[in-house]
Amino acid sequence: MYEFEFERPGSISDAVAALKTDEAQALGGGQTLIPTMKQRLANPAKLVSLTGIGEMQGVCVEDDGALTIGGATPHAVVAEKAAASYPALAALAGNIGDPAVRNRGTIGGSLANNDPSACYPAAALASGAVIVTNAREIPADDYFQGMFATALEEGEIITSVRFPVPRAANYQKFDQAASRFALVGVFVARFDDGVRVAVTGASEDGVFRWSEAEAALGSDFSAAALDGLALPADGMIGDLHGTPEYRAHLAAVLTRRAVQAAA
């Protein structure tokens, strides 16, 4: 990889200051960025590691019941610490990548990268999470802007993510056999005021909400409510691992399964 300057600040403010340099880039757990840099597909002049910032670590339940997860919290910690308060989210975190990846990869890194096949975007979008940065709070509905595209500005870092905890939720991931990312993943979250369904891995526009399914489930939270609903193959990803038609089909199957598991 290309050489770069490495910095590991101990506070958010130091990290923000360090990221003001030209071509500086934040480094979360590095589980995607480092392989990318090995291919010389990224060339930051400076990497600012966020792993040494204590205030960005950890999982806590707020007074309103929402779950706040520090941006630099590894997946393995979320899997353990959120198990009681938000089991569907914990299960999702506990099935990202593999154990070693989960010990390094962070929620902030995943959401900042917004890989179209990543798991966390589905959880954040279906939960109606709020992406908290050093500068502002961004509702998930505004945050995800297409494959690898987010609302983050240059130098802005995700300090935490606030998840409202639904009454019931479930995430169904269908593995892409090689990468073990989601070939398709569906997160269904049932709140008192409605149901949110987010699909990852499927669309060329990245994670999205399946509004027809949400409407159907809002009035009848059962797999049967989804009968006859289908996603169009148009705009779905087609690659070695699955055709657009297959992904559209799979999204519907997984949605039903998520509803069954959550109900």
């Binding site: 050489e3 010389r40 090689a178 070695l240 691992h241 699955g242 038609e245 297959y246 089909h249 199957v253």
Partner: protein, 787 residues
């Protein structure tokens, strides 16, 4: 009672200790004083004309030692192909040049254009980016049939077409086969793809070239399955270095599966550059680079027709295969679709008439060569799939159809030119039915169906030709090497033994299994015997390890050399005991005189050989060291029967392997634990081919499955515990150990049973599916169910 030592025992592997403690010595662990590093600038287009390579800017980059291009290799030989195939018209194959660095054209993505040697690896890579390459893109040919069309772009301008050869076997049978198929009561036809695979040993390739100007000696440390073959090919054909000035060392090697048989450009480059620069030069492949530079495997497209008479006897078989060679001919590439494939088309069955046609084709892709099984998986897959399809078309039990057509008398001369010495296909099928609990399948299917899953059972047989190979025979068939092997048994003065073997162990456990044989023959403890391999300066010669040949060929050489040791040591013992040599017996490490209580110990005899104070010097020389070369009389023919049970999720198309059973006949077995392990690994690769793995290029020749992100390697959670058995043993009749070889069986025998099982499952669910091409990804299986 299982034995606790010697042949048939399963002692713990002695090599494990270093591997388990991180103290192995793999090639990348070797760092020489003053070494420089090379990075290869590789083509990012599949086909292009090189109009210029400007290295001026790169030469001045920090740390650059020297930059080499194709021009530096103009006076240097190209990488040779080791097997010349003659086509069905009696013409020799078209054989293009294969330069170390591209000259004039690039022919696949990954073709090396320039090599930057620098003080560090990253500096080399930095400088490579500053090289300006002027390449004129040319249209690429990727699809084999398109490559053979008139007017298709030519991979090699100096050849007449992209056809390497059009091979017919047995050509004299062609018309009789056509006739039999025309007149048959039933003909089952199947078109299928045996997809391209990447071998993917976990250790990527590494080469370290070293040179001593004082002695004019070159040393190459390399990740090879056969260091002597590399010495021969690189020394004689590429660089012109005589053998006595060239040492090739393959230390601990992290798996090969065929891909480390071949002589590669990077090895020749590091050896060449070390001489030019008078300093060591090291190359370590990244995994991404391996996907573009390791020879790949399989890649056949086949139409097979099986003709049966009114009683369901096989009467004729005809195949038409296109075999992808890639852009250049890798070392043994041309033999794989021919002599390792066509001659196995009889399988386990007495089909009287067989004709195999293979068109080998150049395309703008990475070269293709042997990968675990090499030709035999392709033969087995098409044959066992078409038999399964025939059984379904005829409404007969697939196992019964196979049993009805089994070869039952041995030796058996097939219509495709080989003679099976021994086997018992009924016994392995009986054993399979037992260990796979086939009688319990119906109940298991019912249970799966209760859970909404489709369950299928697939069974197949396989045969392979191993112990490659009788030199005179393969010489007639076009091999440019002999395929014997060699061993030296060096008995030291105190009785301990070093055995220098030409076979190379890169996972097979030779260091444990080979001593079992020698120790048993001499009646001494295994701990007194060590195996030396992998260094051309320490062993007499050797053709290396591939084709499940190590024990059958090199092991036989070791037996022969040990027999010579026994003969000589009996002479010494006779002298020591003042007895007739004919009366000397060797048992449990003691020499005795028959009918007396006289004895001398092994150590007394070995000491006498090296301290010959009381020694028959007028009859024999001092010392106790013997070498044998062994050239096999025939191939060996391991065979077996495999069963796979799958569940298919009808909603997603996801296939899971529920049970897998393998009943193999490997002849005699030296170390059952190691044999089990070899089968397990082969099964995982075969199941991987069936369900997961596929090497895919786009229409422009860009590799889409270029890393583990897209090339699906089998993981622990893709696979079950296997049930394996090798208690059916018909010993090989023509080698001294009666062994047949076990390394490739699992990879050869398992893909058809998986696909047969999936087809069975889908049909049980009412889907009219009679074939799905591998890999059976969920998306493909789902699409097949949609019709």
């Amino acid at each position: 009672m299982p034995k606790d030592s010697g042949i048939g025992a399963s002692p713990k592997r002695r090599e494990d200790v270093r591997f388990l403690t991180g103290t192995g010595n793999y090639t990348d662990d070797i760092n020489l004083r003053g070494q420089a590093y090379v990075h290869f600038l590789r083509s990012d287009v599949a086909h292009g004309r090189i109009n210029g390579v400007n290295t001026d800017a790169a030469e001045g980059m920090p740390g650059v030692v020297r930059i080499f291009t194709g021009a530096d290799f103009e006076g240097v030989g190209g990488l040779p192909c080791g097997w010349q195939v003659t086509d069905r018209h009696g013409e020799v194959m078209q054989e293009p040049a294969h330069p170390v660095l591209a000259q004039g054209k690039v022919r696949h993505v990954g073709d090396p254009i320039a090599a930057v040697v620098a003080e560090t690896y990253e500096q080399a890579r930095d400088a490579a980016e500053a090289i300006e390459v002027d390449i004129e893109d040319l249209p690429a040919v990727i699809d084999m049939k398109a490559a053979l069309k008139d007017g298709a772009p030519k991979v090699h301008d100096d050849l007449t077409s992209n056809l390497c050869y059009d091979w017919g076997f047995v050509e004299e049978n062609r018309e009789a086969v056509d006739e039999a198929i025309r007149n048959a009561a039933h003909v089952t036809t199947l078109e299928l793809v045996n997809q391209r695979l990447v071998a993917n040993p976990m250790e990527p390739r590494v080469a370290v070239g070293d040179y001593s100007r004082a002695n004019d000696e070159s040393t190459l440390y390399t990740t090879s399955q056969n260091p002597h073959v590399i010495r021969l090919l690189m020394g004689a054909f590429v660089l012109g270095i005589p053998e006595h000035k060239l040492r090739v060392v393959a230390p601990d090697v992290g798996g090969g599966f065929g891909s480390k048989i071949f002589h590669y450009a990077e090895e020749a480059f590091c050896t060449f550059a070390a001489r030019q620069l008078n300093r060591p030069v090291k190359w370590t492949s990244s995994r991404s680079e391996a996907f573009l530079s390791d020879a790949q495997g399989r890649d056949h497209v086949t139409k097979i027709e099986l003709a049966l008479d009114g009683d369901n006897n096989f009467v004729a078989l005809r195949t038409d295969t296109h075999a992808n060679m890639g852009a250049y001919l890798s070392t043994f590439s041309t033999s794989v679709p021919t002599w390792l494939h066509g001659v196995l088309m009889a399988g386990n069955y007495k089909t009287p008439l067989i004709y195999v046609n293979v068109k080998a084709v150049f395309t703008n892709t990475v070269p293709v060569d042997a990968y675990r099984g090499a030709g035999r998986p392709e033969a087995t897959f098409q044959l066992e799939r078409v038999i399964d399809k025939a059984a379904r078309e005829l409404g007969v039990d697939p196992i019964a159809l196979r049993r009805q057509n089994f070869i039952t008398e041995f030796p058996y001369a097939t219509p495709v030119a080989v003679e099976y010495d021994t086997g018992d296909y009924v016994a392995t099928m009986d054993k399979l039915e037992e260990i796979a609990d086939l009688s319990g399948f119906a109940a298991r299917r019912a249970e799966s169906e209760k859970r909404g899953k489709l369950r299928g059972l697939g069974v197949n047989c396989y045969i392979e030709a191993c112990g490659i190979a009788p030199s005179a025979l393969v010489g007639q068939l076009g091999a440019r090497a002999g395929l014997y092997d060699a061993a030296t048994v060096r008995v030291n003065a105190t009785g301990s033994i070093s055995v220098m073997v030409g076979a190379h162990s890169h996972g097979q456990g030779h260091e444990t299994a080979f001593p079992q044989v020698v120790a048993e023959m001499l009646g001494i403890d295994e701990s007194m015997v060590d195996i030396v391999h992998g260094d051309s300066s320490r062993i007499p010669f050797g053709m290396g390890t591939y084709g499940s040949r190590s024990l059958a060929v090199c092991g036989s050489a070791m037996v022969r050399a040990t027999e010579k040791i026994i003969n000589k040591s009996k002479k010494i013992a006779a002298h020591l005991m003042e007895a007739s040599e004919a009366d000397i017996e060797l048992k449990d490490g003691q020499f005795t005189v028959a009918g007396t209580d006289k004895s001398v110990a092994w150590g007394d005899v070995t000491l006498a050989a090296y301290v010959p104070h009381n020694y028959p010097l007028e009859e024999i020389e001092p010392g106790l060291e013997e070498t044998a070369f062994y050239d096999p009389a025939n191939f060996t023919y391991p065979a077996g029967a495999y069963a796979c049970e799958v569940e298919v999720d009808p909603e997603t198309g996801k296939v899971t392997i529920e049970r897998f059973a393998a009943a193999d006949d490997f002849g005699n077995v030296v170390n059952p634990m190691i044999v089990d392990g070899q089968v397990h690994g082969g099964l995982a690769q075969g199941i991987g081919q069936a369900l997961l793995e596929g090497c895919v290029y786009d229409a422009d020749g860009q590799l889409l499955s270029a890393s583990y992100m897209d090339y699906a390697m089998p993981r622990a959670d893709d696979l079950p515990f296997y049930s394996v058995d090798h208690s059916c043993q018909t010993p090989c009749t023509h080698n001294p150990l009666g062994v047949k070889g076990c390394g490739e069986a699992g990879a050869i025998g398992s893909p058809p049973s998986v696909v047969n099982a999936v087809v069975d499952a889908l049909q049980s669910g009412g889907h009219k599916v009679d074939h799905v091409d591998m890999p059976l990804t969920p998306s493909r299986v789902w699409a097949a169910m949609q019709g």
